[in-house]
């Protein structure tokens, strides 16, 4: 009696496309994380001083902290609409692996918010006086790091479904867990700026991303199932 279900890669692509379609219908919201990212980095020259040598020395930290906050804030409402209207329940009942469906959703989210953030990094880097030679490492580390952060933050977003809506809860839960990403990413960028080999940081980020890719979908599916109860 089991229906011959579609293979899961098809369904992954389908969910991915659905998310993109939805996001493009609200395209003005897509720009928000990037604008936030640029705004936060602007705060530092204003708050400290526009002295180029100072800005250069704090640049990796500033860019990474801003990217971390932008990623987490953009995830706040990732599952909210689909949870409220019952779509996630239908996904759970569809017979497809819920983890794969949710991974499709997170992947689309990263492509729509994380990638623009990576692409806007040169502007911020230039404004903070980072050398062009470090740009490759900055963007590479941001690409790996924001992907890992999207995965990690998605778990937080799924866990906060059905809570009294406190806006800081997600950050409170996930910031401590996100610290390794921040450390590896900022350090790789810093080393690249001082002409040192940034390999270790990049490899560690890649390792984190792989670990997150393998563990997060399971945690996500569990968290979403719990939210139905």
């Amino acid at each position: 009696m089991r229906i011959a279900l579609r293979p899961w890669p098809h369904v992954f692509v389908m969910v991915y496309q659905r998310e993109c379609r939805l996001a493009l219908r609200r395209w003005s919201q897509l720009a928000q994380p990037v604008v936030f990212f640029i705004m936060v980095t602007t705060l530092f020259p204003l708050a400290l001083s526009p002295e180029p040598s100072l800005l250069r020395s704090i640049a990796p930290g500033v860019v990474w902290v801003a990217a971390l906050l932008a990623s987490l804030l953009a995830l706040e409402t990732l599952f909210r609409a689909d949870w409220d209207n019952g779509t996630l329940e239908q996904w759970a009942l569809s017979g497809q692996p819920l983890a794969i469906l949710l991974l499709g959703k997170v992947s689309a989210h990263w492509c729509l918010t994380g990638v623009p953030l990576v692409l806007s990094a040169p502007v911020v880097a230039y404004a903070l006086g980072m050398p062009w030679t470090a740009l490759g490492v900055l963007m590479g580390s941001l690409a790996l790091g924001t992907a890992a952060l999207s995965l990690l933050g998605a778990v937080g977003a799924a866990l906060s479904l059905g809570t009294r809506r406190g806006s800081v809860l997600l950050s409170l839960m996930m910031l401590p867990l996100a610290m390794p990403v921040l450390i590896f990413g900022a350090r790789a960028t810093d080393l690249a700026m001082s002409q040192d080999a940034p390999d270790a940081g990049l490899w560690l980020l890649a390792a984190l991303l792989i670990a997150a890719l393998s563990l997060v979908p399971v945690a996500l599916a569990a968290a979403v199932r719990i939210s139905f109860e």
Partner: protein, 251 residues
């Protein structure tokens, strides 16, 4: 499911409530004795350190609390996992009971660490790798407690926070590694060395006593808090009323 009925019976509220009630004294009495002996040995009998003077004596509180901060999170993560996989309410109750105790020991570890830092580094806080790891661990406890408190329904709070605890447990070694890596790239501060073969017996024995004593204290506190958690979760408190009337009639 049927195969696990014995398991559920063992973990039934009346049984576990009574067991925790008997156990806690068995932990508490030796805990108090050992802590008293260990602290007397450490703070009074042991000779002063030739480098650090009397300041080193803080490790008799600092080191056990650092150990218990980690043990607390491990117990939290493991019992959360058991609760999640076998849907065992007692395990969730234990996780809920242990979290604030672990957080308190983490806080105690940070406070004693910074008190120790004042004479050593000349400041109450330095970005030492161990202390920074402890600080992040405290944040993890706080995040866990924040998630738990933001649900109205106990069983959902249990299960959602259990997922967070497991994700956190996987992350503890990663965080520890990343902080060490971060620290090694900067001019590292002096690292607080604990124990080691260089320590003479007059210093080491009290340290072991206080390690054991604080661990038993942790167990005793867990039992007391577990009893409270079981009571708060009980929806059919008839056994409780029966128990209370029985004990009242005895008096």
């Amino acid at each position: 499911m049927a195969n696990f009925t014995w398991f559920y019976r063992l973990a039934s509220p009346p049984t576990s409530y009574a067991a925790a009630g008997r156990l806690w004294l068995w932990f508490a009495v030796p805990a108090v004795l050992l802590i008293a002996v260990g602290l007397y040995g450490g703070l009074v009998s042991a000779p002063a350190d030739y480098q650090q003077g009397d300041a080193f004596r803080i490790i008799y509180v600092h080191a056990p609390s650092a150990w218990l901060s980690l043990l607390g999170y491990s117990v939290l993560g493991v019992s959360a996992g058991i609760g999640l996989i076998w849907r065992m309410k007692l395990a969730h109750a234990l996780a809920a009971a242990v979290a604030p105790i672990g957080a308190s020991f983490t806080f105690l570890c940070l406070v004693t660490g910074s008190l120790w830092g004042r004479p050593m580094w000349g400041a109450y806080w330095a970005w030492d790798a161990r202390l920074t790891s402890e600080l992040i661990l405290l944040f993890m406890y706080l995040g866990y407690l924040a998630l738990r408190s933001s649900f109205d329904d106990v069983s959902r709070a249990d299960r959602a926070s259990a997922v967070l605890a497991l994700v956190g447990l996987v992350n503890v070694p990663i965080i520890h590694f990343s902080v060490n890596w971060w620290n090694s790239l900067h001019q590292g501060s002096t690292v607080l060395r604990v124990g080691g073969p260089a320590m003479p017996a007059s210093m080491l024995v009290p340290l072991l006593e206080s390690f054991l004593g604080f661990t038993l204290l942790f167990a005793a506190l867990s039992c007391v808090r577990l009893r409270a958690e079981i009571l708060m979760r009980e929806r059919r408190p008839t056994w409780l009323q029966d128990g209370l009337t029985v004990s009242a009639s005895h008096e």
